[in-house]
Structures are given as C-alpha cells and as structure tokens.
C-alpha cells in the first residue's frame, strides 16, 4: 500500500500552507491556493477522546482526536490510530492513513 498523502494547499504568493477549506489565503488574501502534498510528520499539540460522538459519528465509537503541529508549519485536526494511552502533548506522530480526507495519525 502506498504511503498516504496529506494534500493541503499552499499560497503561491506568500507560501503559507492553508489547512482549511478557504478560498483566500489567511495571511495575504491571495486566491492563488494550489494543492500540495504535505509531509505528515509532526507533534501532538493536544488530544482528547470523544466518548459521546455526534449522531453522524456513532459508528466510530470512542474517537481519539489528535491535533498535530506538522513540521511543515501547519496545524491539523485528525484522529489517532494507535493505543489511546499513548496520546500525550508533544508526542511525535506521523500520518498513518486518511479516512476520506480526515488525517489519521499514528
């Protein structure tokens, strides 16, 4: 199986990586945001385990959530595939899989 690729968008004008589904660059206002594969290595900024999911996510059971600051300089909200006991602020993670376009770290 090929390594999963996290595709975000980079501003062609100021080079900022934009993680959200925005039309305009948050830094410079340009609309020249182009898709770019971003390395999925980073560290956990914070985490939680959602034990009472919203109706649309009931099938997932308890959902370990990890917010990761990627080495590329952008913060993304994703899930955590490893043992939840390992969740800790500062822990190194890498992109393990994509569920649709939701990053899953491990």
């Amino acid at each position: 199986m090929p390594d999963p690729t996290l595709t975000l968008r980079r501003c062609e004008v100021c080079a900022t990586i934009e993680p959200a589904a925005r039309v305009f660059c948050a830094q410079c206002g340009s609309d020249r945001l182009v898709p770019e594969a971003i390395p999925g290595d980073g560290a956990i900024v914070s985490w939680t385990i959602v034990r009472r999911p919203a109706a649309a996510f009931r099938d997932l059971g308890a959902i370990p959530i990890a917010v990761a600051r990627l080495d590329a300089g952008v913060t993304v909200t994703g899930r955590f595939a490893g043992d939840p006991v390992a969740l800790a602020v500062g822990r190194r993670v890498t992109l393990h899989a994509l569920d649709g376009d939701v990053p899953v770290f491990g």
Binding site: A20, S46, T48, R51, P53, R58, V67, V89, D101, V102
Partner: protein, 387 residues
C-alpha cells in the same frame, strides 16, 4: 453615541420547559423585562433576538417577529442574530447600538433556546453547526471534545489538574443552589466530580453544562429617558463584540481565545476601567475548563492561574474576584441563545443589590459570552449610576 441604560430585565427559569413553545418562553421573559422597566410597550422601537438552533431542534424560525407579535409591539424592525452560543450577547449589543445611535429610544434584546426535548446526540449534532465542519467537524470532534483539547493543552503548559478544575465545578454548582432560576445547583465533593462519567478526556460529566430550555431579556433605553423609569437604570459602560478564528488550526495557542482577549481590551478602553475595577463577572463556563481560560483571557486572573485561583477560593463570592455568583452555565444552565442575556440579568440583579447570592457593594459587573470555537465574543461592563 448616546449613553444607554438597562431599564428592565426578565427571565424564565433555565430548566426543561417541555410543554412551553420557544416563542412563549421568549415572550414571557420580554414581557417581564418591559414591566420591570416601567415603560409602555408602545414605546419600543426595535427588537433584537438571540437564537442559535431553533431551526434544527424545534423547526420554528422567524422568532423575532413572532415574539414581537405575541407581545403586541408596534410594527417595528425585529431582527434575529446568530453567533452560536454568543447569540444573546450579540442581540444585547445590537439593541444597545440601536439606542446609542438614535435609531430609537427604547429597544428590547431577548434570547431563547429550547433544547432539552431533543436528546443529547441530536443536541450535540445541532451544536456542531457552530464548528468548521470542513476542517474540525469532519474528524468527529464535538464541543466537549474541543474543550477537552483546551484542557490538555492548558495542563501541559501550566500543570492544571483535576482537583484544581473541580474547584470551579464545586463553586458554580454551589452558587447555583442559591439561584432560583438555576437548573442544576448541587453540593458536590471532589470524589463525586472525579468519579463521574468520562465525556471527552479529561472532561467528565460534571465539567459540562446541562442541556437547557429558557429565555431572558433586557429593555434598553436612552439615558435622557431616565425620568420615565420605575427603577434606577444600570449604565452600559462598555459593550464590545469581536470575532476570532472558527477553527483549531487558526488558534495560535489552544489555551486562549483571541476573541475574548480583544473584546476585553476594547471593553476596558470603552469604560475607562481596568480588571481591578470589576466587582464580579458572569462568564462563559460552558465547560469547567472554559472558566479557567476565560478568567485569564479577561485579565481577571493572571495567565496560567485560572484553576489555581479557583482552588484557592479567590473566585468565590467574598473572594478577590467573584466569578459566576449566579451559578454560571455549569449550574444555571445554557439555553444557548438566551445565555448572554441571562448573564446581563444576573449582573443587573447584583448591581441593584437584589441578587440571591449578592456580592457585597457590587457597583461594576462584567458579562462574557463566547460562541463556537471562539469565533464570536461579546463582553459588557455594566455600572451602577452612582458608582
């Protein structure tokens, strides 16, 4: 801009109101506020209505006009505003602006929500409308989960622990026992809080506000109409509204909401006051850890010390800076569109010297209302006219 006074306040209890339609809850609160002011309803020139999830949870919209119709108000502009859990605070500010800019002499701000009938999963889904669902929401993150993230970040940075945060829960639940409008006052001990169900680690059941129905309202009037009032008005010394980022990736740190920091700075500047001048604050403790963050962001507590100060008793009534003497969202309840106006209700009661959990000699009070993941914020400073 003209000086604006809060002339009257009204509120339903915050609890389940299974058999009462949302427009009736709102009309009762607004009617009580009009009667409290002594003004005639024919003088009301505008109505602003705070509501967030009435569409998905009750199937009823156009509430601003429906409530005005129920009250028999003139054919005035009636406007619903929405800023998630800050909707009530935004309604208050817009009513203030209508009077301050001379659009009318008298305006009503009302807010209402009806949620309890829908059940936890449906309410969680409805509240998730306030998340950026193309970035955070799609992961399965919920608002309790978001504040679990905030807690773990605060703990990693400042060492905040379960026992300290439990002091916030104990205080607000105890304050709620004294408030007849409160849904869930309780005398809790640390073991009960720490033994409650895990919701979103480390948030447990008693760290979360209850799901509530309720409405609250305020009548605002130009200061030159003070002779028409039955009670001494309370001055709106400041009313600030800001926006922050709608998503986690936009937060420079998870331990602070920029919308709160900015709104507080603007409010202190408008009022010519500093945090040390505030006698009490009703702030947005949708979750226990939110009170910790908010108290720091508002400048009432040193950065990183929000939980420590709660554990030391400094935020109790009688302490250095009483926070949420009305019980806060944790105990009073959180009918989201009504909450910002419920806070105004509590602070006006304090400044009139009529609160069931009175802060001695309260002259200057603050309200803080936060929506979404910090995307909308209002901060008000209210002041006794003789202070």
């Amino acid at each position: 801009m003209r000086q604006v006074l809060v002339a009257g306040i009204g509120s339903t209890s915050f609890r389940r109101h299974d058999t009462v339609p949302i427009e009736t809850l709102a009309a009762r609160a607004a009617d009580a506020a009009i009667r409290d002011s002594g003004l005639d309803r024919s003088q009301v020139g505008a109505l602003y209505f705070g509501n967030f999830v009435s569409g998905p949870l009750t199937g009823q919209e156009v509430l601003a006009g429906m409530v005005a119709d129920e009250l028999g108000l003139p054919q005035i502009p009636c406007t619903k505003v929405e800023g998630a859990c800050a909707s009530g605070g935004i309604a208050f500010r817009h009513a203030m602006l209508a009077v301050a800019t001379g659009q009318c002499d008298v305006a009503i701000a009302a807010g209402a929500e009806k949620m309890a009938h829908a059940g936890t999963a449906a309410v969680t889904s409805a509240l998730n409308c306030a998340m950026d669902n193309l970035s955070d929401g799609k992961s399965g993150l919920t608002f309790p989960g978001f504040f679990g993230l905030v807690w773990n970040a605060h703990a990693a940075l400042y060492g905040t622990n379960r026992e300290q945060v439990s002091a916030v829960v104990r205080k607000n639940k105890a304050n709620g026992l004294l408030n007849p409008l409160a849904q869930m006052g309780a005398a809790l001990d640390d073991a009960t809080i720490a033994g409650s169900a895990q919701i979103c680690d480390p948030l447990q059941l008693f760290d979360c506000c209850p799901i509530s129905d309720g409405a609250a309202a305020a009548v605002l009037v130009a200061a030159d109409r003070i002779g028409d009032l039955t009670r001494p008005g309370i001055a709106i010394a400041a009313s600030a509204q800001t926006r922050g980022t709608p998503r986690v990736s936009g937060m420079s740190e998870l331990t602070s909401f920029r919308a709160t920091v900015d709104a507080a700075r603007i409010a202190y500047e408008q009022a010519g006051l500093s945090p040390a001048d505030i006698d009490l604050c009703e702030l947005h403790d949708c979750f226990s850890i939110a009170e910790v963050i908010d108290s720091e962001d508002l400048g009432l507590v040193p950065r990183g010390k929000g939980a420590v100060w709660a554990a030391e008793g400094r935020t109790l009534v009688g302490g250095q800076i009483p926070i949420n003497p009305g019980g806060g969202l944790l105990a009073k309840g959180h009918p989201v569109g009504a909450t910002g106006l419920g806070q105004v209700y509590e602070v006006v009661k304090q400044l009139r010297g009529e609160h069931p959990n009175q802060v001695a000699d309260a002259a200057i009070g603050m309200t803080h209302n936060l929506g979404g993941a910090g995307v909308a914020c209002t901060v008000n400073i209210l002041r006794r006219l003789d202070a």
